[in-house]
């Protein structure tokens, strides 16, 4: 039964226009990430080469090009931004449509008047959403690997592919948080439009508001790989640093930066991973409980 519901979920997404539009945007941005990374790298190296020529003309020695030592995967650093923005939005829509159709006009009544338990129903829905996100990210991984191949004119090494797979694995877990938020909001609101609005609100808070009271208070930290000594000496900053584990977007960016080697500050990767996984597990349990308690004898408004 779980497989039937998951398969139906996957099939029905083929014709959800909003979802398809966001998916296309994410895939285009994934392809562009490599090109943009390569373009900025090429500009910097070009400036360095010009400087070397200028110094040589003046008979001065030129320093070693620091950018040549940059890891290959750092070309994909933009993906660390695209996933929390476009990817998370896509996941919210995916989670929303997974349950909203069954709410609207009471299709859920037809489902639950059959031999379907609420547990197998909600697990089927979660498995369906997880499978779709996995397929999208496997495709994104392929696009990223191809763009590295084209930009560098050399195939990524096994180690690089491993890091890339780890990054997309982490992204899958991160996006599941938003898919589950999209599902849960359908179950706690009576109107479809309000459910989507609530999920978008949660996305805005997690992506933009929470970082403002954590890393947003130390705007130079993202540029400086060394932890700001002032921040650890002041009570206010010490207090806000305690809030950091609750900012899953920061945890995601920090671990991703470490995995893609765009940042030397890995922070507490295990702790970060656990906070993302913990939130996903918490939301999954909440969604299962909400479906058990939900009244499927009536339909909600479709407006």
């Amino acid at each position: 039964m779980i497989a039937t519901i998951a398969r139906h979920q996957i099939l029905s997404l083929r014709r959800q226009r909003t979802f398809i539009g966001l998916l296309a945007t994410l895939l285009v941005m994934t392809a562009l990430a490599g090109v943009l990374g390569w373009s900025s790298h090429r500009t910097i190296v070009g400036v360095y080469d010009e400087s070397v020529k200028l110094l040589a003309a003046q008979g001065l020695p030129a320093p070693e090009n620091p950018f040549r030592l940059k890891p290959t995967l750092s070309l994909l650093s933009n993906m660390v931004v695209y996933i929390p923005l476009i990817g998370a939005l896509l996941a919210v829509v995916l989670g929303h449509v997974s349950l909203a159709d069954d709410e609207t006009d009471g299709v859920g009544r037809l489902v639950f008047s059959r031999q379907v338990t609420r547990t197998s129903y909600v697990i089927g829905k979660i498995v369906g959403a997880a499978s779709v996100l996995l397929a999208i990210l496997v495709f994104s991984l392929t696009v990223s690997a191809l763009s590295l191949l084209i930009v560098n004119r050399a195939a990524p090494t096994v180690a690089e592919l491993g890091r890339l797979a780890t990054f997309y694995g982490l992204s899958w877990l991160y996006l599941m948080v938003f898919a589950l938020i999209g599902m849960a909001t359908v179950l706690v609101t009576r109107r479809r439009s309000l459910a989507l609005l609530s999920a978008m609100g949660a996305w805005l808070v997690i992506t933009f508001a929470v970082p403002q009271v954590t890393s947003g208070l130390r705007p130079t930290q993202s540029l400086n790989p060394i932890t700001d000594p002032v921040s650890t000496s002041q009570a206010f900053f010490r207090a806000t640093s305690k809030a950091r584990p609750f900012s899953v977007v920061e945890q995601y960016k920090q671990i991703s930066g470490h995995v893609l080697q765009t940042s030397t500050d890995g922070g507490n990767s295990i702790g970060g991973l656990l906070s993302i996984a913990g939130l996903a597990a918490l939301l999954a349990i909440a969604t299962v409980i909400l479906v058990q308690r939900h009244d499927y004898s009536t339909g909600t408004s479709s407006d």
């Binding site: 609207t104 006009d105 009471g106 299709v107 037809l110 639950f112 008047s113 031999q115 379907v116």
Partner: protein, 257 residues
């Protein structure tokens, strides 16, 4: 073990009424909607459940289709308890709610295949096509449900309700939004399902003219209480002065509960 269970279920199916409610009560918040309803519907009957808006008809159907749990009392469908034997009950019933729409971006066939699989039908594709053919609407198979008129949706809705050949069919206000041609088609379909497949039909409706033409038995619910239940023939015999079922119904509704 499974054979024994099957035998036990088969025995229950052949010895009990199609639908049985005993002292059924249901309360939303503090408002009682059903008040001690006792009702038995025999196999093969076409039962018309009448009552004003808010009388509790849909609540009764929601309980019988296992969508909600009654506050107290018992309800059985084909001998199975709707609370403790939910799985067995859902294997026996088909349900068409009022204003059904299904998945609008999927075709009629895709919708039917999904609901057939949920009911454990092995060859869901064949079942979907056969059911559409039975209801004489095969032309709708590959069209998206979102583009359907009310009448078309209703026919596909009936198809999803009977695709697994249930013993009992629940129809909640099936005529709402239908034009006269649609109402006539629905009436013919109900009579065919009853005669061809022996389905017991439980129908909530306001359309008294259809009740008189289709139903074998009627029940009247007034503010959550069952105030009347008898066959159509007995009803018209009991109220000889009234010219139509509508007059009888108005007279019953006027009786204080």
């Amino acid at each position: 073990m499974q054979t024994m269970d099957t035998d036990r279920f088969a025995a229950q199916r052949t010895t009990t009424a199609a639908i049985e409610m005993v002292g059924l009560n249901h309360t939303y918040d503090v408002e009682p909607v059903l008040r001690g309803v006792d009702l038995t519907i025999e196999r093969g009957e076409i039962f018309g459940f009448l009552g004003h808006n808010g009388a509790g008809k849909t609540t009764a159907v929601n309980i019988l289709t296992t969508l909600i749990t009654p506050t107290s009392g018992t309800a059985r469908v084909q001998g199975f308890d709707v609370v403790t034997q939910r799985h067995e009950v859902t294997s026996q019933i088909g349900y068409l709610p009022a204003e059904v729409r299904m998945y609008p971006h999927m075709t009629a066939r895709e919708n039917l295949e999904f609901f057939a699989k949920l009911s454990g039908v092995v060859d869901a594709r064949s079942a979907a096509l056969e059911t559409l053919d039975y209801l004489e609407c095969s032309d709708l198979a590959d069209r998206r449900v979102g583009s359907f008129s009310t009448g078309m949706r209703q026919r596909v809705g009936i198809a999803q309700a009977i695709i697994h050949k249930p013993s009992v069919l629940f129809l909640d206000e099936p005529t709402s939004g239908l034009d006269p041609v649609g109402v006539r088609q629905l009436r013919d379909t109900i009579l065919r399902l009853n005669s061809d497949l022996g389905m017991t039909v439980f129908m909530n409706t306001h359309l008294l003219s259809e009740v008189a033409k289709v139903c074998t038995t009627i029940g009247v619910l007034n503010h959550g209480e069952l105030i009347y239940k008898d066959t159509i023939e007995a009803t018209t015999a009991r109220f000889p002065d009234e010219t139509s079922l509508e007059d009888i119904y108005v007279r019953m509704e006027a009786i204080p509960s």
